[in-house]
């Protein structure tokens, strides 16, 4: 599905998007192996805070969720769970080829193949794994997308909620998280 791009924001939304673009808090959730390139991106060498980005502890506080690589079904349940806890506007950046078509895990029984069937992805970063430069570049792109009002994945998710839910249930059977230790 292509995310619509027309710009019909009013002035207040434009101002709001200016603030959203320049202050992006990412959720502190390492979903996959791409997370190993996040510490260099965050710390002194590449310094993500230059762009106004910083890690935040909980989903409620965060604006952007980084899906750092492959997602096993077990993680996808948590990802959906915590994505729905985030407050609008919220964005998703997907790392690496695993989120696009499964990558090297195309025939794995545990990982999903195409992420945007389950949650709306605003931006993909190619590569396995994306270098910190690529990650920074993607963040710069995300900022300009938000400024132009093109990062509308969260709206898309609200409007097509049934479609996403159906896909989620098809692959996961249930999104509810039980007591995982089975006691």
């Amino acid at each position: 599905m292509v995310l619509e791009n027309q710009d019909n924001r009013n002035l207040w939304e434009k101002i709001g998007d200016y603030f959203s673009a320049n202050s992006i808090w990412m959720k502190w959730y390492c979903t996959g192996c791409g997370a190993i390139e996040l510490p260099p991106t965050m710390t002194s060498r590449f310094d993500m805070e230059r762009l106004g980005m910083g890690p935040m502890a909980t989903p409620r506080q965060a604006d952007v969720m980084l899906i750092t690589g492959y997602l096993s079904t077990k993680t996808l349940r948590r990802v959906i769970y915590s994505y729905e806890q985030m407050q609008d506007p919220k964005y998703i950046v997907a790392f690496g080829s695993c989120t696009i078509n499964g990558g090297v895990y195309y025939d794995s029984y545990a990982t999903i193949n195409q992420l945007d069937k389950y949650i709306p992805v605003d931006l993909y970063i190619a590569g396995c794994m994306p270098r910190p430069e690529a990650v920074m570049n993607a963040f710069a792109d995300l900022i300009s997308m938000i400024k132009k009002g093109q990062a509308n994945g969260w709206r898309h998710y609200q409007e097509n909620y049934e479609w996403y839910k159906k896909n989620q249930l098809d692959s996961l059977e249930e999104v509810i998280i039980h007591d995982e230790f089975h006691e």
Partner: protein
Amino acid sequence: MTVMNFVYGFIILLAAFIFQTTITGFNRKVTARIQKRYGPRWYQQFLDIFKALRKSSITHGWIFDFGVIMALGGIMATVIFIPVAGFEAFPNMDNVYIISYLLAIGMLGMAMSAAGSGNPWASIGVSRALTNMLAYDIPLMIVIFTLIFAFDTASVSEIAAMQQGMGILGWNAIRMPLGGIVAFIALFGMLGKKPFDSFIAPAEIASGPMVEYGGKHLGFMFILHELMTFIEVSLILNLFFGGGSSILVYAIKYAILYTLVNIISQVMPRYKIDQAVKFFYRVPLVFAIIQGLVVIFLGWGVSVWF
């Protein structure tokens, strides 16, 4: 009490917010330089706050919402009573007792709201925050009572004015050095700076009381935090570091004091909450008691030493 008092109060409120937020932004830059990186823009803190206010929010029941409003109201009321370099919105009402009671409303509102969210991390965070308050408050209050005893007044602006005109030697932190040390250490605890930030420790309790706040609630919490920082730094500045003879001097002294605290806290790990309590009840409490005894029985430091 005229309309002008309220206008002045509003001006103090607005100026305090803008000033403290700028200082916070500047200190984020200082922090970045200590960590060998470039750091955010100086106005990043404003962007963060307005961004948070722009987002949608979720409520976890009326206690959750009401607590935030109560905390913000209590803190805003407190800011109005803070004397800044002799400038007071409501003259003769800047009593230490009023400030500390109003401050407690803010604290309690925050605690109520965080507990109302029903998240266990938030409850742990709140209980840690209150424990932490209990830890730094006892030594600090002993020192403040000593000041009140020594100067026969509980008015913050009068205590600040008594330190003027003698340069650095007039500061209470110099006249009563042990008390000054206690106040400076307590400032770390009041501001929630490391090593006394275990109640918002992200790696332990996922940012504690803040855990369920998102969107507008979080924005209000940030504003609240800026104003609270202003109150706490101003209180210590007025009581122990001589206040300011003019707004400019006051602002410079304020910035230096806050930046100093921030720089020190950047090379500190955090205490566990029980260790923090033990720490405050050991050295600062003993210092505070000694200072009190010295002032009461020997009278040193009440008048200027030299």
